[in-house]
Amino acid sequence: VFKRFVEIGRVAFISFGPHAGKLVAIVDVIDQNRALVDGPCSGVRRQAMPFKCMQLTDFVLKFPHSARQKCVRLAWEKENINEKWAATRWAKKIEAREKKAKMTDFDRYKVMKAKKMRNRIIKHEMKKLQRLASKKGKKSEKPEKSEKSEKPEKAQKSAKVQKA
């Protein structure tokens, strides 16, 4: 049922508080509610932090409990946590949310146009396939073709959003 556990070396994401949005590694457990935490590569000083503001990630580092910051840093850099984190969907979603909030009026217009164009293309292809299907009767080949044609259009749209 539970896949991520609080353990020494677990990398956690801080969701609120002064260090919101940063990654830390759990160095030691203080009591039921707090952990000793350190984020040498993310700008968080070694400190006690309540579990409530931490959200566990999939990454675990290897270092003994109460290891000093240098060891934590070595382990962090060996595992390349910063890059791995940026590649996760979680981090990408956060980034997308930030970008959306920063969108200016002009950007919103550009996104609207891109979305409109994309939907038009999709609809166009769908209609084409529907017409073919209705003409030639039910055949198993047609629904497969429609899935393949949607994927390249989705890639186009995400590229446009990233540009803006």
């Binding site: 909030a101 969108m103 200016t104 009026d105 002009f106 550009k110 146009k113």
Partner: protein
Amino acid sequence: AGEKKPGEKAPREKKRGKKKTGEKKPAEQKPSQRAVGEKKKKIKKHHASRNPVLARGIGRYSRSAMYVRKALYKRKYTAPETKIEKKKKEKPRATIIKPVGGDKNGGSRVVKIRKMPRYYPTEDVPRKLLSHGKKPFSQHKRRLRASITPGTVLILLTGRHRGKRVVFLKQLGTGLLLVTGPLVINRVPLRRAHQKFVIATSTKVDISGVKIPKHLTDAYFKKKRLRKPKHQEGEIFDTEKEKYEITEQRKSDQKAVDSQILARIKKVPQLRGYLRSTFCLSNGVYPHKLVF
């Protein structure tokens, strides 16, 4: 020569303080001559008040004592007026001679130019208290939001062009903003807009080289109202302009400005379409959360 100068400057300054022009040492003839020339060009330093203050508004010396202390007997710049000069002074004309028409009326009358008042109020109007800093509108300080710079795209919020996105040109003398569609893009002509009823977006068009004609001022844009109701009632409503007519000058000015701006708009991709579109809110869109 350079070494001499700092040495010479010190005695020169002392001389200035005492205001002695008579003393001339032979060795320092040239610098003192220079000093006199310099005095004429430089403004004389004003002496501090020669009347020490006893309490606020009360000086130690009387007027006559101050006259002596300030040596005003020496400081007379105009010669006193002689009687001949006084007589020669021309007074402004007090009366004028006007002709009278008709028969047996004596031909002309002497009429006073400045006449006695025709009414004296029973109670004198009380003196108004002094007020401070109350300026008329023409002298008010005009402010402009930092987010509005020439070339900014603004969203108009009121008026017949509400919701339209428009290019800002400059701020006029009364503080209103001069703005243009451009006309071919969204049918907004050269127009004035109020700063308060406008959203400034962060999108800017580069208007650095654009020359805006100087005759586009508030007077140019002000609404014209006819004022001459010699004929009373009935015809008043006809004379007032019902239909606004676009003058040829407006068209030419619009063309002159827009041609310059359109060229720059075309350089930015999708900007033309952006200016053509209108701003609107929909579900889930909250203005306080939007970044413009």
